[in-house]
């Protein structure tokens, strides 16, 4: 399985690059991508479909963006096997949660926690990460308020 394919698929699924009015983000973290690809390959809700997912993506990733979007919807998001895995990938990036293991609660790893996209998109910061006294009085830097 190709990590570059996993990164490019992830970026397309989660909406990266982010640009204004969102906070700027140009690429996903490849180290975190390795973690998610490995773990979601080892186990996912629907079964071991990572290779099939990346092969499918490899066949459509170079299409023009509108065609690519339609292809992702048709061949991945609406596929009964690949769709759930794609949604798991998206949620891993957004929340930092590890894959759901059978019988366990979703558990974010401390190492992934601070990289979860929700913090950036909320214009906030990971909980339990100290910043500075009083910053909360004003709107976040870079926002129009």
């Amino acid at each position: 399985m190709n990590l570059d394919d996993f990164v490019s698929l992830s970026e397309f699924l989660v909406g990266v690059p982010f640009s204004a009015p969102l906070p700027t983000m140009t690429a996903l973290d490849p180290k975190l991508a390795q973690v998610y690809m490995t773990e979601l390959s080892a186990w996912s809700l629907q079964g071991p479909f990572m290779e099939q997912l990346l092969t499918t993506w490899n066949g459509i990733k170079d299409q023009p963006v509108e065609q690519r979007t339609a292809s992702v919807n048709r061949l991945i998001m609406n596929d009964e096997n690949l769709g759930p895995l794609a949604r798991q990938i998206i949620l891993a990036w957004y929340t930092g949660f590890h894959p759901w293991s059978p019988g366990q609660q979703p558990t974010p790893d401390p190492a992934n926690y601070s990289g979860a996209l929700v913090w950036m998109l909320a214009r906030a910061h990971p909980m339990a990460v100290p910043l500075s006294f009083g910053y909360w009085q004003t709107a976040p830097a870079g926002t129009e308020s």
Binding site: G15, V72, R123, H125, M127, L131, Y135, W136, Q137, T143
Partner: protein, 634 residues
């Protein structure tokens, strides 16, 4: 000290009440032994362990099999307030070299204690903690004084709702407690200013630190409410809806009590990672430094030794089980007894009762000639109303709450319904819905992905705001703590709870919902309210059929969460009063019957008001420490 006793004063419980008293007495040369049921772990490793482990949606406590087991018991519960047996291995005394706690150990060092209860789904939704420092590890930090009329609810308003709830006056007044409020604010380290709507809470001392700054969303709400009033349905009187800074037990100044300045980690609950927020481990350590206080951890007090033939004789000792866990996970415990001249139960409103009801005395149980031990169990039920404001307000930043609405905490309506206090959250929809995780999950599962997903997640999370309003209940004897027929792993009877949200508090919740919705309607141009709440009640407590209908059309942007939440405020189970026939302790928190026995904590409260309890618990402890010192010197 006479060799007749092991110490001058035995204290059960190293939470804020017990730890602060131990420090106060120890610093005056009084020899103290503190029995703590849980482990004594209190250093930075423990804090880091909590920080690493709490990051689980909707689960603000470390994930561990023991806790999950308790949740299962909660779900499948019969009628028992389930305690987790102590399971921590290799636990040494506080701060000792043998303390080898491993934060990654899957077995818990404290116990989530959930409950069930009663009928109609009136679950007791509050828990507490067995560990040195107690529940202050995870308190919000709000340090709010009671109002003068909170001490005289009966003589001022005398509410008489149809379910039998009745108010009782305290045997002390606001003025009696006022100096001790100041002392408690200094001991905790409170940052604050007196709000405009302070209802006569005069002060003899200033706050030790300037207020914590209000959040951006606080000021946005404040500006939208300029001049807005709330009309009470019971009296047709208007009350201003004013946002004001909340006094908080967290440092606005670096170094106060050797603690850090708040850095806005946004995780006050479950844990402040840098201890800018006060917790009672501070006073555990201060007590240890006096050289006069011995902490005995993993020591579960279960019985007060009293004369079974004469209920008026002094208490002679406290029995406890000292436990440890072997390498196979088996719990071993040994029987112990400790003696002192005076005894203090500071293990909170449920554990105190459990010990007392398990202690024969004459024909009754200790301190229970009034039959009030265990009765009047209460919490502050919380209404949660949350909104998607028109403009971004940028939550998930700063202390979880920095402002509140104090102006609705007192008024003539208290003859009919409870007061409420509104806490404005800086934590988005974390409390009501488990965000920031729930929104992306809902969107993704609904088919949204890509750029559209990022835009919608950002747009939603930056506009989430919530109000939690603490409702005032009345004492009601039918809600109570009793001993169950089941025993814990140490062979100690488990407590059994009967609980419900009383009519006075239900009316308060209804008013709080109405006021919260009114506030949010000022922050959205086209409000659409989605009610998921309980019914309004009429003046006799009957349900009004036409309330809380979703009459507005469109996509909802103001939401009322179903039911109520627990506040973590266990109150009322061994109340104080002037009359021994109707109360357990006097105004000094001293047993009417057993005069060398004191009870601490909010279990002593004869009415519950709307303030978060910790500051008042601390003030009363410091005041009682003075009384104990005087009794020892007599």
């Amino acid at each position: 000290m006479s060799k007749k006793f092991d110490c001058d004063v035995v204290i059960v419980g190293a939470g804020v009440a017990g730890a602060m008293m131990a420090w106060k007495l120890g610093s005056q040369g009084v020899k103290v032994i503190v029995l703590e049921a849980g482990p004594g772990k209190q250093d930075d490793d423990a804090r880091d362990g909590y920080v690493d482990n709490f990051k689980i949606a909707g689960t603000p406590y470390p994930l561990r099999p023991a806790a999950l087991k308790n949740v299962d018991l909660f779900t499948n519960s019969t009628n028992y307030y389930q305690e987790q047996p102590p399971q921590r291995p290799k636990q040494g005394p506080i701060g000792s070299a043998t303390d080898t706690n491993d934060p990654d150990d899957p077995f818990g060092e404290y116990n989530i204690i959930s409950s069930d209860v009663a009928s109609k789904g009136d679950w007791f939704q509050t828990n507490y903690e067995r560990q040195a420092g107690g529940a202050t590890w995870h308190w919000l930090g709000n340090s709010i004084r009671f109002l003068p009329k909170d001490f005289t609810l009966r003589s001022t308003y005398d509410p008489q709702p149809p379910d039998g709830g009745r108010a009782y006056d305290w045997p002390i007044t606001y003025n009696d407690l006022e100096p001790w409020y100041g002392a408690a604010e200094n001991s905790i380290g409170v940052s604050g200013i007196n709000p405009t709507a302070n209802f006569g809470t005069t002060r003899s001392t200033p706050y030790p630190m300037p207020p914590i700054p209000q959040s951006y969303s606080d000021t946005q709400m404040e500006s939208s409410l300029d001049g807005v009033t709330f009309r009470d349905k019971w009296t047709n009187e208007d009350y201003p809806l004013q946002v004001s800074p909340t006094p908080q037990g967290r440092n606005s100044v670096k170094g106060y009590n050797d603690r850090a300045q708040c850095h806005g980690s946004s995780s006050c609950i479950p844990i402040c990672p840098i201890q800018a927020k006060y917790d009672a481990t501070q006073h555990v350590q201060m007590a240890q430094k006096t050289g006069n206080v011995e902490f005995r951890v993993q020591s579960v007090a279960y019985q007060v030794l009293a004369d079974t033939s004469d209920s008026g004789k002094p208490i002679a000792g406290i029995r406890y089980r000292r436990w440890e866990t072997d390498s196979f996970g088996n719990i071993r415990s040994t029987e112990q007894t400790v003696t002192g001249k005076l005894y203090v139960l500071a293990s909170h409103a449920i554990e105190n009762v459990k010990i007392l009801l398990n202690s024969p005395c004459g024909n009754l149980t200790v301190a229970n000639e009034s039959d009030q031990v265990g009765r009047n169990l209460a919490d502050h039920p919380v209404s949660l109303v949350y909104a998607l404001t028109d403009k971004p307000i940028y939550g998930y930043r700063g202390p979880i709450s920095t402002s509140g609405v104090e102006s609705v905490r007192d008024g003539s309506f208290r003859k009919y319904r409870g007061a409420f206090r509104m806490e404005i959250g800086n934590d988005g929809w974390s409390w009501p819905l488990g965000d920031p995780y729930t929104t992306p999950a809902d969107l993704v599962n609904g088919g949204t992905w890509g750029t559209q997903l990022a835009q919608q997640v950002s747009d939603t999370l930056t506009r989430q705001l919530r109000i939690g309003a603490l409702a005032e209940p009345l004492p009601n004897a039918k809600y109570r703590v009793q001993l169950s027929g089941q025993r814990d792993a140490l062979g100690i009877p488990l407590p059994q709870l009967t609980y419900g949200v009383d009519v006075y508090a239900q009316r308060s919740l209804n008013a709080a919902v109405a006021a919260s919705v009114q506030i949010f309607k000022k922050m959205v141009a086209r409000p659409v309210v989605q009610y998921n709440y309980m019914e309004f009640l009429d003046s006799r407590g009957a349900i009004l059929a036409d309330t809380f209908r979703n009459t507005d059309e469109g996509t909802p942007n103001i939401f009322v969460r179903e039911g109520w939440a627990g506040a973590g405020h266990v109150m009322g189970t061994h109340r104080m009063g002037s009359d021994p026939a109707t109360s357990v302790v006097d105004g000094n928190q001293r047993s009417h019957t057993n005069r060398n026995l004191y009870l601490l904590g909010s279990g002593n409260w004869p009415s519950y008001a709307t303030a978060n309890p910790t500051l008042t618990i601390a003030a009363l402890s410091l005041r009682t420490a003075e009384a104990i010192k005087q009794q020892l010197t007599q």
